[in-house]
Symmetry: D3
Subunit: 266 residues, 6 copies
């Protein structure tokens, strides 16, 4: 049990010994959802857990007091609810799950809780939960994306994605080709980039000012948006390493971040 950084591998009383005000607890959260005919359902959970494990290890090596909690595999994937194999929580269930987790963590000595998130569909409710947990239990709460695509100048791999390779495309396929190549059906790599969707100025996916409520079959029966045909394990390796580096950098800032402690009853 000596060197583990998996908190659940400790005993309860050990958590009282090893955790303190400055300890950072990291919860990987992903999804089990349709990712097209080429990627496994587990893609987002795999990515979140893999980045978390690598980042926690590196952060500890760098002297940070970081601990990893069990992965929340199933998230809010209602946009893929139509697809066989998708496991999803309703919005309320995910919020309750996150708040319950916050209540649980508040019983440990740790005060910093970080969600490392592998699924875009979780982002909004994580945003809600961060504040709920802070308000109810006084924890400092954080959420960050598991996958960070490096800025490689002309992003060759994603060249044909028109900036909207958000699900099952170049980046996700590449990272799974790196992490678990056996789980990618390379004979079925597909491309689905809805014409014109990337060209809107106001409306679009992440980063555009106008958000919209979409289901993944709004863009055709493949249920993906992106181009998997240009993915490669090499690109996946670069993405994974960059993601890990950024996560470690983020944990460093979280470690240095301070706010007045709060303790309010739920």
């Amino acid at each position: 049990m000596g060197d583990t950084r998996k908190l659940a591998e400790l005993t309860g009383p050990q958590t009282l010994e090893v955790l303190g005000d400055d300890s950072i607890l990291v919860v990987p959260i992903g999804a089990i959802e349709h990712h097209g005919p080429h990627l496994p359902l587990v893609t987002d959970a795999l990515t979140a857990e893999s980045v978390a494990t690598a980042a926690v290890s590196a952060a500890v090596a760098a002297g940070l007091d970081v601990w990893q909690l069990p992965t929340i595999s199933v998230g809010k994937s209602d946009e893929h609810h139509w697809a066989s194999g998708t496991l999803w929580l309703r919005a309320e269930t995910l919020l309750d799950t996150l708040v319950d987790l916050g209540r649980s963590v508040a019983a440990t000595p740790a005060r910093k809780l970080v969600f490392l998130n592998g699924h875009g569909g979780n982002v909004a409710m994580l945003g809600v939960a961060l504040r709920e947990i802070r308000r109810h239990f006084g924890l400092m709460t954080f959420a960050m994306p598991a996958m960070r695509v490096p800025d490689e100048g002309p992003e060759l791999g994603a060249a044909d994605e028109e900036g909207i390779g958000i699900h099952g495309g170049w980046a996700e396929t590449s990272i799974v080709l790196h992490l678990r190549p056996d789980l990618v059906r390379t004979d079925r790599l597909v491309r689905n980039v809805p014409a014109g969707l990337g060209a809107w100025e106001q409306l679009g996916f992440n980063g555009k000012p106008v958000a919209f409520g979409w289901l993944s079959d709004d863009f055709g029966p493949l249920g993906i948006v992106g181009d998997a045909t240009t993915a490669s394990a090499d690109a996946g390796k670069r993405i994974f390493e960059h993601s890990t580096d950024e996560a470690v950098a983020a944990l460093g800032e979280i470690d240095r971040f301070e706010l007045p402690p709060r303790t309010r009853l739920s």
Copy 2:
């Protein structure tokens, strides 16, 4: 009743006549919350409603089939729950309110529902609601910020805000000075820019990759983050007009945006 674009000023049967598949319904949503010692509680609701009214009018003049619904004045302002005067809905209540509204709209002939949002604390739950409403009722759903600060090169007014003038600072104070100068206590303009908060690379407010769960008194007793001392009605006018222009542009894209119709029962 001839020229109104307030949907609630029509009769029920008239909505069957004037609305169709291409009609766009705009719901302003704001907040009634503490905005420091200088700004009124109504700031966000006022901004959302004012921009909505101007944008709907301009969009209609430009030939779009746009209608305005009653403003949701009270939003999710739990970050200001500690402050007298803040009226706030819990996360679940806001989600239920938005989904109920979507259910109601689904009984009209309109298929496009837009939330024009004046309060940052509503963004996350709006993101959840967009998808809930699309999945349950088949509507096309959109959300966009009411306030859009123009990019004026060196943003003189916000110069001292270190990029984090998110609540009660230069932009909000300016826009209220423009819209309702009688509601600004210009004798109590304050500045509260937490040292260093804008300098983090990973962690921060909107736009930084690491989100965090904050309450407005985490940054001191003033309950604002920004610099109101440099605000001006002129800047407010520019912000308001830019916000309106952008909202009109967004409505134009929404008008042209098409997805296959869905009708699923709740």
Copy 3:
């Protein structure tokens, strides 16, 4: 900001200055719902807000410490859920909204909260909420109808309504003809008085001992119960003024009403 009695036009800190134990906060609550082919959807919200504004003004002039909160426009209109244009909250959502409002108000120095209600469908849940808010937050809570029809001896206008002009009939049409004549389609005034419904001794609308669960299309496709054809702006003026007078009288009693203070945590 000097003379406003709109609480949301104050700053947060001002609410600490101007409010005290004896302050009375008035929340207009209405509905956006089908009112037949002649009346606007906004009828109930319009009535509640108009009476509230007039009554608050008069009460303040009479020396009472009364403040107006933003109108809750959308209420529980499930009886009109079938009609295009109706916006409605489910029962649970309305209760949560009211309780959340009570929680918010409990953070101000005021102890008296009044709902001025323009929609019959809200009455029952308001009754529930009054007690919830008192029990959870210790406020003194009140609810009263916005519209009070004066007793004019032989009620000529409502003569043909058999005492059941409860929705879209003489009184409501008259009051809108007074407040916003531009919103009444006088070319479509209709009458729908279900034969015999007023003649029951036990069973009926307000005032009869046996309540029943009705939807507005239970009484035919018009969705109203009453006679709009005899409405007039003059009658509307009398109703409006009487409603305001009664509201002021009620606020006077509320001002003098005292119960031991309670403060319980939610």
Copy 4:
């Protein structure tokens, strides 16, 4: 099993035989709550069940197709939550209970559901439930008070109650003296009539236009409002018989009442 009118004493398949579109199901609903030092906790449940049993019997004798369901003993008594012995459901629990009952009844051939209510604190949520059940399940729904005090000219017994003998006073004490004299502690009959409360014009208990949210200890530690000292078994007998007569009259109207059938899915 021949003559029973207790529906629960039938077998399931028998309900298919004996019930039809015109059958009326009566659910007594009461409360188990503090009623002062002289009346039993069961007062309201006892009253509701006793009146229901007598009224169903009389209605059947008069040729109506009426059936009695099991009594809901515990209701919404949050106003007495402070008092040992009160058993109470939260508002949401009562609503869920009533809606679940409606869902259950919708699986029988009966279409008319009547709540005979012995507790004022249930009235508001019953009002909500009547409409929920009609909207969700298409049943015709009714609610009526179990206790009806006859108009005896100078109401001698209640003479000192100033019209507000709403809880534990002359009428309730009398009816229990009639139904179960062994359960009345006649050595502890008390009077608690808050000075002036009956004199308000606007504000007050049932019948006054301004409702307020009260807890029973708002009026002193006795937890009653009324005058038990003048109660008598004779008066109780008259009240009980009048209540039964009125309930039978109401069931007659309900029997003749018709609305178009609805069947909507929940």
Copy 5:
């Protein structure tokens, strides 16, 4: 009121006098549900209440401080939701009901709460509620079956039930033949023992390691599992007396059982 052990027959203040730390409150809980063509809907509620009444009486005679609360007649009978006459609470409603009851009891001086349960479908949620009530309100909580079939060596009556006479079979029919023979349709006694179901080693009803989610019409249209044709009032008498004896024995152990008191706020 002298000798009653029905708590609801006391006044509120009396509960403060007669109850103490060692008092045991017994709540019978049953069901109103389809029991085949021969047994009344009330079977489970009748059994629970009858055993409770007998056991409380005997326990008091034996010197225990035991009190009976009103019966919860309607339980979680979703497995019979398809059958006319079944009245059922959804899972959430039953849990809320039980927790609300626990909250109510926590306001009395008693610390021990016992559910005497006549319906198998309630068992799981009772298990949940016992812990909820202990955790929230600090009560000591217990649940036990109302019906206990004596071990009579070769269980002649149930000989043909293959050990799975769980609903509407020999034991239930016998006990109703004993308690209320007028409610049994002896001309319609039936047998439905699904072939082979009792022969599984792993999978089966109570007692087998693998539980499964069944609805009562999974086993054919009769909606029972068991053999009513061999039932007798004599067997019912033996079962009833044994059930009562066991309940008394259980109350004796509950009386002697001690845990450290807890008081946590909900």
Copy 6:
């Protein structure tokens, strides 16, 4: 991807190919909770997942069409809520999670869903969920314990546990010593067997007729009930292998078990 039996490692479309009416989906469910000073928090999740993996593999080898879903690590551990390190879902959250999972699985071709449960605190709500999922979605649903202690005549290891080694005692410690000896703090093995608790006839843990609501600190500060001091890896190996064998036998019965298909909408 060839031989995996982890469903989440397939693509969505593959699930349509490999799953059919006879496919069995196995969900391990455990807990992350205090297990005394010697066992890791992950004990129950580890046990469930390990037995599931071994059993699925063996069942597939035996020709069954069985697939493993991601483990639900966090369960209902409210009995350990007081202990640092316990992660727990509230009762409602667990029920929602299970029902959401059932809804998800209903979108695949599989019709049989099995929960392999490593934590006693999950049993009751699993029982509720099995029926909810069957009623709402028509699946055949099953739950079984992950750990099955072989009947070894005189159970030497558990000799001192008086039959109540339910948490952190001989069996659990032994199985973790077998599966992950590095996670057992063998220097802190403890014994806590509440005197007399095993001697009750009516009242007790699993198997006794009277259930009670306990928290793990009801039995002292160690938070365990059992005797870890006699645990051994050898015993753990026997328990693990027996558990796997029994799970395979159960899957065999589940494979052969048939009920009429149902499809009801939620």
